[in-house]
Symmetry: C2
Subunit: 529 residues, 2 copies
């Protein structure tokens, strides 16, 4: 077990680090995605004394934070991260941004210098609070070692209060190594208030609206409404009232497959979204935010709500009541199967067909396929039921870490990471954690040797790059990246597929074997159409 | 050339993005380490219109910021980075922290949403200013598109004002695509004030101090004093007065090799540093900060200045005057050569001997060798003259990016990156940029399959990890990482060395060929001694 040789050890008392680990466990947090440094060594030692906490080593902090996001989306409760001072927190931020946009509860434990060391501006000193606040979450810094027990409880409660957020505990090294009696927990610790709801329409009013103006109404589902129950209720509403129903562009967790209605997602391209919402005079948001375009484009609208339309907010838990109110019966979906795997040189369309045809029961898809993934939603509509986790905050490098977290949360579900090549490079060391933990993840790299999304966006923002210099920044060839070689370097068995048949064979084999596999799916080099 | 099809184009006017690129060039910034996204597409297009700016694509923002740091340390002037909104800036922060500690001038250009889009809380919206301020640098946000020319000039001046800092320009997409007349540059633009100096001792007083109390005085050199001239002056002072002379623990750029005095560096371990400074009653800082331990440890002092000692600050430019004042002659250094390359199974000591024996003339060493690199300073003292760039801010993942920047700054100097395995994983995609740009970099991975520094630190903070769970967080085996395979995946020719002879053969071959190479030097698995 972890031992403190320091004179501050007192019989019968735990070190601060042990208090933190024990309190996390008592509040239901039993996985820690860790990238520790010197200031976290007592926390590391405490893991031996408190074996119920599962540590998962990540080789980069952005893997730890993305894994905590993926874990929360599947487990429905937070994991901890263990990060090394400000620079460690900084490396975690991009995927904490995605977690924030997914409303995933995450509890960061960020080691800090001993309190008496903080004023010395030692090399690793920086403003950790500022980074915690950047996530729009709560930041918890103890005033004394005796505060740790209460403080960690408050942090977990803050993270898990609906709709979920990032909570950051700053753990000074001296508080971590001291063995100090803790202040008693209060019976009724002050609860963090959930964010004020802005629900402004109830079942009766929504029912009236849809009975009278369904052809001019759109239901937009997000957050908790994209689980299977929400999608089924929305499909009943659509069947009964004839209203349009859409799912937000990047849901945190979307139920998919043949047992749930395949509802259209609001398009990423503003042009497409504008078309989907055209003519609507009432937009009923259910767990979704008011839709805005991802970026601004010259001469195009940023707010996607049609001019003059009224925006309503319906509570997610009222969705099935609304379906009942409207008397909607569950639409009968004709049983269907995805087609047999296709053949021929690989392209985005037959790649999607292969994945759809072979997708196992109850899979989890971590989807950062980006441009090359456009055919996936249609192809997988009749695959077995599965969940899809998407890029909620637009900070790329999310897909592989989220797959790690999902696989830790659901060890008996196959996880498929559909990952574009450019985005894969940001947090590629996630592969090593997959190997270390022998996670059942099949990574498919959609390798088109380009930041294809940027070649598209370059045109959409109203400019052109005819020149070699600008093209060089959007092209990932020279040299081509061999992801199979990289994966093998990180200990993940890997192969390359150039045809649909090869992909099907390799995907089937990867799914049949335990542990992680990577398939580098070599697509035609992308160029704007 | 870059063209704006938007109606805002006016004849004779440049887009905001072109203004920014042109102003950077006018201020002497002609390299841009870039990881762009949609909001930076006009900047990308402008690179075609303004071909004097050299864009260098990086696959992760931490590579771009570390490269800008390495570039500044060698070129003595800033490079630009191009980053994508808050999450892109977040990924750059850890190496900006190192740049801050190195006093490297860096100019970040961070694309932001169009100004009218910023209030919509679109998915990528976040507080970019907060991240810029975290670097302790300046943040420049234009109030209008007409401000860009002035603003970029101010940012470059802020970055380059002594001693050097990180300046961040926030570039909204609409200002970037608009073609707007610029406010005229003022003749005397308000200069950024250099940080107030705290110089409190001049040549005469320092001379008097050293003549009378040399045996109780220590000169600690940092910043600009670690160039060859400073080291020679300090060696003359030591020879004349008999004072102890030390170099700070992690210098930004340290001249080394047989033409410069091999001055001892202040130890990383507080125990060692305390020993080096013991008995000093006067500590004369020359470009260095007051020494403090990297971390706090139970029962050990954090401030390394001996009790009761007086701390003085001497200006770097007074160092050679002080040597003259004391009448110090340059010590004659007997000509020496490093020994012939050794043989036998590889270990940290013979690895250092191989590097030292084969180090080419005028090399640059990017040193993130950490625990495995302890024998390097002694071994390379008689190697040909070279510069060493170290981990100034303790944020690991710095060595490979800094090597990229150094190689771009000095295309005719061989760059050697000595890189520990754990740290290499943070920013490993730097290898791809080395391949893309065909940079003459030889990476040697000191692969001991452990966070050895943490195994050491675990003991030093007064705790132990006897258990499997804590050990699992400090060990990088299961699976072992094959860096040669990873390097080949990123397009860098690579090999593995298990003996000193193999390392010597491979190192010689890598130096003889242009372009990047990686050698995965397999050391005995580290365990605390």
């Amino acid at each position: 077990m972890g031992r403190v040789d320091d004179q501050s050890e007192q019989p019968g008392l735990s070190t601060g680090a042990e208090v933190v680990v024990n309190r996390l466990l008592a509040e239901g947090v039993d996985v820690c995605f860790a990238n520790p440094g010197t200031s976290e060594m007592h926390f590391v030692a405490a893991l031996d004394a408190v074996p119920a906490m599962r540590p998962v080593l990540c080789l980069f902090e952005g893997v730890a934070s993305g894994a905590a996001d993926g874990y929360a989306r599947i487990a429905g409760r937070p994991a901890a991260t263990l990060l090394h001072l400000g620079p460690g927190m900084a490396n975690a931020l991009a995927n904490l941004h995605n977690a924030r946009r997914a409303f995933s509860p995450v509890v960061n434990v960020v080691g800090d210098h001993a309190t008496y060391h903080q004023s010395l501006d030692a090399p690793l000193e920086s403003d950790i609070e500022a980074l915690g606040q950047w996530t729009h979450g709560s930041v918890h810094r103890p005033d004394s070692a005796a505060d740790l027990d209460i403080l960690v409880r408050e942090a977990v409660q803050s993270a898990t209060a609906p709709p979920g957020r990032v909570a950051t505990v700053i753990l000074p090294a001296d508080y971590s190594w001291e063995a100090t009696a803790q202040k008693p927990l209060l019976d009724n610790i002050s609860e963090v208030e959930p964010e004020p709801g802005d629900i402004d329409i109830d079942v009766a009013a929504a029912g009236e609206l849809l009975r009278t103006q369904a052809e001019h109404a759109v239901l937009l589902l997000g957050g908790g409404a994209t689980a299977a129950d929400g999608l089924r209720a929305a499909a009943r509403i659509r069947a009964a009232a004839g209203a349009r129903v859409l799912v937000e562009t990047f849901p945190a967790r979307l139920a998919r497959g043949r047992d749930v209605p395949a509802l259209e997602r609001l398009g990423y391209l503003a042009e497409q979204a504008t078309q989907q919402l055209s003519g609507a005079t009432h937009l009923v948001l259910v767990g979704a935010k008011t839709p805005v375009s991802f970026f601004a484009y010259p001469g195009k609208p940023s707010v996607l709500v049609p001019d003059g339309a009224t925006v309503h907010h319906l509570a997610v838990e009222d969705l099935s009541g609304l379906a009942d109110e409207l008397g909607g019966a569950a639409p009968t979906v004709p049983p269907s199967e995805p087609g047999a795997p296709p053949s021929g040189p690989l392209n985005p369309q037959n790649l999607a067909q292969v994945i759809a045809a072979l997708l196992p029961e109850n899979a989890i898809i971590s989807d950062e396929a980006n441009t090359s993934g456009v055919f996936l939603p249609a192809a997988t509509a009749s695959s077995p039921p599965h969940d899809v986790l998407t890029l909620t905050g637009g900070a790329i490098g999310q897909g592989l870490p989220v797959a790690v977290g999902a696989a830790v949360a659901a060890p008996h579900r196959p996880v498929i990471a559909l990952q574009s090549d450019g985005s894969a490079a940001y947090t590629i060391s996630a592969l090593w954690t997959m190997a270390r933990e022998q996670l059942d993840i099949t990574v498919v790299i959609l390798n088109n040797r380009a930041y294809a999304i940027l070649q598209l966006e370059l045109m959409r923002v109203g400019t052109r790059a005819d020149g070699e210099r600008s093209r060089s920044l959007l092209d990932l060839s020279r040299p081509d990246i061999d992801f199979a070689s990289i994966a093998q370097g990180f200990g993940v068995p890997a192969s390359r597929a150039g045809t649909a048949e090869e992909l099907a064979d390799q995907f089937r084999a990867a799914l049949a074997e335990p542990g992680p596999h990577l398939i580098d799916a070599v697509l035609p080099t992308w160029s704007p159409g």
